[in-house]
């Protein structure tokens, strides 16, 4: 009974946290007036979408190191459809998601059977291949120059990208929706299948779980939301290029997620927010950023696999142990 009560309490605590966070996000622009800071918040939120999307196939044991490839697909698809075909930006964004989902599906059928480290390496190679293709097919993609003048989304003629504040709210809506949706998948039967597969292929299969199908599902959903992030980024910056979608960006997202905590939906959120804040504080000395990330990442992997999210629990355990002495 005590354990049930503990779960109900932690659910309630979680709901309070979420509510507080949403309330803060709602009124943030009233207190944060600087367009630059709002820009940082928007970029952070977009990274959070990507980090959250990355987590889903990770649960099933497939670490997609090349995840920004799907974001790139979403970005370029959406940008090209909006710019060259004049497609409504909202539809272009949806199309970007759909195309990255389809790409994830096709690729997934082939590469998901490979496990662990080799899978990660494969996705890294695929990312590089994509980047080279984007550089080469200049006529379509603008090559190294990328695509400029990407239009913003509009509502009834109102340009959401003209000022930071409207796009901030758009980003918050999209980010909250993405986190919520992926969270709901994790809590569903499919999510249970993901967690089972992540622990034991053999046992899951013998309980009737079709592991290939569920791995593919996680991968495709991850691809769709990565594509959403890519599209949003392109329409926000009005610009996209192969430089935006490199292995460095991909690794940075991984670091955000791992430092935040792989085991929880809060992990990518906490990790991205903390590390983005850190990177802003080190704005003056950007060269040291990879070093700082590394210095944080290594102890986390070695000693705190639960990441920052697990920190309160570790601290309270440490305190309890000291009290016993």
């Amino acid at each position: 009974m005590n354990q049930v009560r503990a779960t109900v309490n932690s659910n309630r605590k979680n709901k309070i946290r979420v509510f507080l966070l949403l309330a803060i996000l709602l009124v943030l622009p009233l207190f944060v007036r600087s367009p630059y800071l709002l820009h940082v918040v928007i970029i952070t939120a977009l990274y959070i979408i990507l980090a959250t999307a990355l987590r889903l196939p990770l649960i099933t044991g497939r670490f997609n190191i090349g995840v920004v490839a799907f974001a790139a697909v979403g970005a370029y698809t959406s940008a090209l459809l909006a710019l060259k075909m004049g497609l409504n930006v909202w539809l272009a964004l949806l199309a970007g998601c759909a195309v990255s989902g389809v790409v994830a599906f096709g690729l997934g059928l082939i590469i998901l059977r490979v496990s662990g480290l080799y899978f990660g390496m494969l996705t890294m190679c695929l990312l590089e291949m994509l980047r080279h293709y984007l550089l080469w097919h200049r006529k379509l993609t603008g090559g190294v120059m990328g695509i400029l003048n990407i239009p913003s989304p509009t509502i009834w003629g109102f340009d959401l990208g003209a000022d930071k504040v409207p796009f901030y709210y758009l980003t918050m809506i999209v980010t909250v929706f993405s986190i919520w949706f992926i969270y709901r998948i994790e809590r569903s039967r499919a999510g249970m299948a993901f967690q089972a597969i992540g622990q034991s292929d053999l046992l899951s299969e013998h309980l009737g779980i079709h592991i290939a199908r569920y791995r593919l599902l996680a991968f495709v959903v991850s691809g769709i939301f990565a594509g959403l992030m890519g599209g949003m980024t392109a329409h926000y910056l009005h610009y996209t290029s192969p430089e935006d979608w490199t292995i460095m960006q991909s690794l940075t997202i991984q670091i955000f997620m791992v430092v935040g905590g792989r085991g929880s939906a809060w992990g990518p959120i906490v990790g991205t927010t903390v590390l983005m804040t850190l990177s802003e504080m080190l704005r003056g000395s950007k060269e040291y950023l990879p070093l700082v990330y590394g210095v944080i990442l290594i102890p986390v992997i070695l000693f705190y696999p639960r990441g920052l999210v697990g920190l309160p629990h570790s601290i309270s355990q440490w305190v309890a142990r000291r009290r016993q002495r």
Binding site: Q195, L203, E205, H210, I211
Partner: protein
């Protein structure tokens, strides 16, 4: 006794490259029977299980279950056909609670579908409540209901194996294959597990096929025993017959001599 064979292995063989693990195995189990499969280490017993449950495709031969040829089907298809199987290592999901372990086994029975489940509709909620009720009942049947919120990896090995029996039972098996169900257990845990297995056959009518090294346990529970040595069946009969069988005795003693 010419009962219709429930599980039949016809000339089943498995080669791994140059190594023949199982060779031309013919075996027939009747419905409601408890069949033991014994043999020295490396005799091929787990390979036989793996060929039936879908981990390996047989190199030759067929597996017929309840009249259907299930040879070479993948594991989730075999599970669908109500043939379940437990494991010795990785018997349970270590990070899940006992209850969640059992709930995971209801996967095949979930009719709610993806969207109902994701959006947590009343259809999905009702289904999950039903599964929860049934899972608690299974835990009660196994005598481990009070452990339901414990995390599996914190439990003693014996309890984990009992749990894995519960998970296999949730699949409503007509035939249950148990891979060394009492390995690593003390006498009390062993007796408890063997009682649960016997009850499963007696009260639920499940046919049992088990591999086991604990001679007292397997002799005490089996109606018939098949003996494997170096991938071939060397004897088959009641526990009394097997105990006295010279080929069986030689297979066990003979192996020790070769190793020395």
């Amino acid at each position: 006794m010419q009962a219709m064979a429930f599980l039949e292995l016809q000339c089943l063989s498995k080669q791994f490259g140059g190594l023949t693990a199982v060779s031309e195995l013919d075996l027939a189990i009747s419905p409601g029977e408890i069949r033991g499969l014994i043999g020295p280490n490396g005799a091929g017993k787990t390979t036989v299980f793996n060929m039936i449950s879908g981990v390996y495709k047989p190199s030759e031969g067929r597996v017929i279950f309840d009249g259907e040829d299930i040879t070479g089907l993948p594991a989730h298809e075999v599970a669908k056909r109500q043939l379940s199987r437990t494991f010795q290592l990785t018997a349970v999901f270590r990070e899940f609670t006992v209850l969640r372990n059992l709930l995971a086994a209801y996967h095949l029975f979930s009719k709610a579908g993806f969207w109902n489940s994701v959006l947590n509709t009343s259809l999905s909620k009702k289904e999950e409540e039903q599964f929860m009720g049934n899972a608690l009942e299974t835990l009660r049947f196994l005598g481990i209901e009070d452990l339901k919120n414990e995390i599996a990896k914190n439990l003693p090995y014996g309890h984990q194996r009992v749990m894995s029996l519960g998970m296999a039972l949730i699949l409503k098996p007509k035939l249950l294959m148990l891979d060394e169900p009492v390995s690593g257990m003390n006498p009390q845990e062993t007796k408890n597990m063997m009682d649960r297995i016997r009850e499963t056959r007696d009260k639920k009518g499940v046919t049992i096929f088990l591999v086991e090294h604990n001679m007292k346990a397997v002799m005490g529970i089996s109606d018939q025993i098949s003996v494997l040595s170096f991938g071939k069946k060397i004897a088959e009969g009641t526990p009394q017959e097997i105990k006295a069988n010279p080929a069986v005795i030689e297979a066990y003693l003979g192996v020790e001599e070769h190793v020395a």
